[in-house]
Symmetry: C2
Subunit: 369 residues, 2 copies
């Protein structure tokens, strides 16, 4: 898995599972929905206070992109929020009253996302024109200076463009043998993941800087770890470590080959707000207008000590099913997630030391110097 | 089938069959491809001679919509033509040289079109950004004054928004009993179809007039009948009449109920260039820059006396399969098109009196008075 092509391949595996089966994302949207509820006010404030009137005045069509939109009720919930906040700004602002723009929402996700389902689920009588834009958000997706508002929830940057090549290379000193992520791996594996994150973050900001008009806003809602927390306490890290040990269990039972596990690394990096800030500052094209933790009962509950093993396993399956299926085949899915669920049931406080945070970031495109 | 909802339902049935099966559109693209070849020069001329330089100079992003794009090799062939012609205009024009726009292509078709297939087939390294826009082209699909060039091949206006309601109403004097189209029907059925065409044409032009910038171009490539030809000589009319008689054959064999056939009318109207001109003049928002017959060996052969029954039946099936399946169920498809093919084989010159024409129309959005 060293070829350049492999990263693109992985790149195409991230979209949540489409359709409406038991394990599909559309049935596992509670956490995203809680994040949306909690961010509604933050988005309203961002638009009311941080969006320059000139942008509204100068755009006949106000273009909004939702990156990593997936398919599910939240896909439309977040966008509806944004459009309502914009309409309300128009209404409150006398000067803008005669200049109401039309809204165009560009729903982006990987090519393998179920756009057919997305299109048939579009709300009737929506107050915006809709289009689907396939492709990785690490690439240019939109024409220059064509976006006024970008939104990306949870998906953003959490998924790397691919796992670092060296950790999957048997001949590299950074080879991550017997693990599928960086928790409990050597320092060099963590470094490789971090380097991949820094590179991807820069790439993400570079391409967005080209696409967003000066003064345009970008909202990122990210699931990560609090500042000053060691990655070993991250929910994703602990989850993937547990899943990795379940996979090694399948190796011992002869169901999966050890080489298969050794060559599988999940391209997820769990960042802290500080790491995000550092990336934005390095890039230099955006100012950080707001960065804050999102507190919400359901979100907070979710990250606490005892969790519902069945619900949690089904949520993890929904987000990882594609990537696991592609690497290991479909047959292992049920047995793998059964074993995952059982381990949590046997030790319901397994995640009690988790330090998890959802944070809201509002960036504004700086004008060129 | 009298409810208003029915027309919307029919409206959603038109897209060509997706996937890549034996009867799919992607495998039946020869006729459209021939039209594309033949229109390449006409499109080049349209862009070189009729597109105002100001439009290129004033648009950072040049937006092209392909209406009724379907899924197949031609989807990208036509658009590639247009972008190349635009690039060549930029190159030839010194003044424009420093101002090269980026291109955004908006691929439109009904919501039931296979956009997942469309997105995975997008050419690598294409010289344009791509988006999919689901919906009927009889509705508004794009923001105001947001399009610079609209292209629609064959699909345009040939498919009505729905069959006239009265021809499917048992209690109406216009009821089209025992037929699925207007050939050999009473004058009132023909009138109802014509009225539907006039209404749909006006609707189509009205919504496009709002979406296209002043001076923007719209190319329609239409399969119809020559001026002064009676509709009984139209290829679509004769085809649908033959198919209707095959369906009545299935009624006699007890495979299909007569009521089912009586309530099925195909929403296709075969127009002449004159009828199109009249519609454009009535609407008043566009000037007709070019209107001409497209001559091409393959196209001309296709419309001539003796045809390959198997190829032709498969082409007809590709374009009508969805609508027939939805009304009659999947089971009748094989037997229906077998019987259709056999009728042509038994009488290979059945279409010898056909008068068919493909014509190219270039419209320009008039500035408001």
């Amino acid at each position: 898995m060293e070829a350049e092509g492999t990263r693109n391949e992985l790149n195409e595996q991230h979209p949540m599972k489409g359709g409406d089966g038991l394990y599909s994302y559309a049935n596992n949207f509670e956490i995203q929905r809680a994040a949306s509820d909690a961010t509604k006010q933050l988005i309203n404030m961002a638009i009311a206070e941080k969006l320059d009137k000139e942008i509204l005045l100068n755009s006949k069509t106000f273009r909004i992109a939702d990156l990593g939109c997936s398919v599910g009720p939240n896909t439309f919930f977040a966008v509806q929020n944004i459009v309502e906040a914009l309409e309300s700004k128009y209404k409150q602002c006398q000067e803008l009253n005669s200049q109401i723009s039309e809204f165009l929402v560009l729903f982006n996700d990987h090519t393998t996302n179920d756009f057919n389902l997305l299109f048939t689920s579009l709300p009737q009588n929506r107050p915006y024109y809709a289009a689907g834009v396939p492709g990785s958000f690490y690439d240019r997706l939109f024409p220059k200076a064509s976006l006024h508002f970008v939104h990306s929830s949870i998906a953003a940057i959490l998924w790397l463009s691919g796992a670092p090549k060296e950790v999957m290379n048997k001949n590299s000193p950074d080879w991550n043998k017997g693990r599928i992520h960086y928790l409990n791996s050597g320092a060099q594996v963590v470094r490789a993941y971090k380097a991949q994150f820094v590179k991807d973050m820069e790439q993400f900001l570079q391409v967005r800087a080209q696409e967003i008009v000066y003064g345009g806003l970008m909202v990122l809602i990210i699931s990560g770890i609090p500042n000053g927390t060691h990655h070993s306490q991250g929910l994703q890290c602990m989850t993937l470590d547990l899943l990795g040990s379940c996979l090694m269990g399948l190796v011992r039972k002869g169901i999966v080959s050890e080489e298969k596990v050794d060559s599988f690394n999940v391209p997820i990096y769990e960042m802290s707000p500080q790491e995000l800030e550092a990336g934005v500052e390095r890039n230099g094209c955006f100012s950080i207008e707001t960065i804050e933790y999102i507190h919400h009962k359901r979100l907070d509950n979710h990250s606490h000590s005892v969790m519902n093993a069945k619900v949690f396993a089904s949520h993890v399956r929904a987000s990882l099913e594609r990537i696991i299926k592609k690497h290991f085949g479909e047959d292992i899915l049920d047995v793998l997630f059964d074993s995952f669920r059982k381990k949590i049931e046997e030790n319901p406080s397994i995640f009690k030391s988790v330090k998890k945070v959802n944070f809201f970031v509002l960036l504004k495109r700086r004008a060129a110097n």
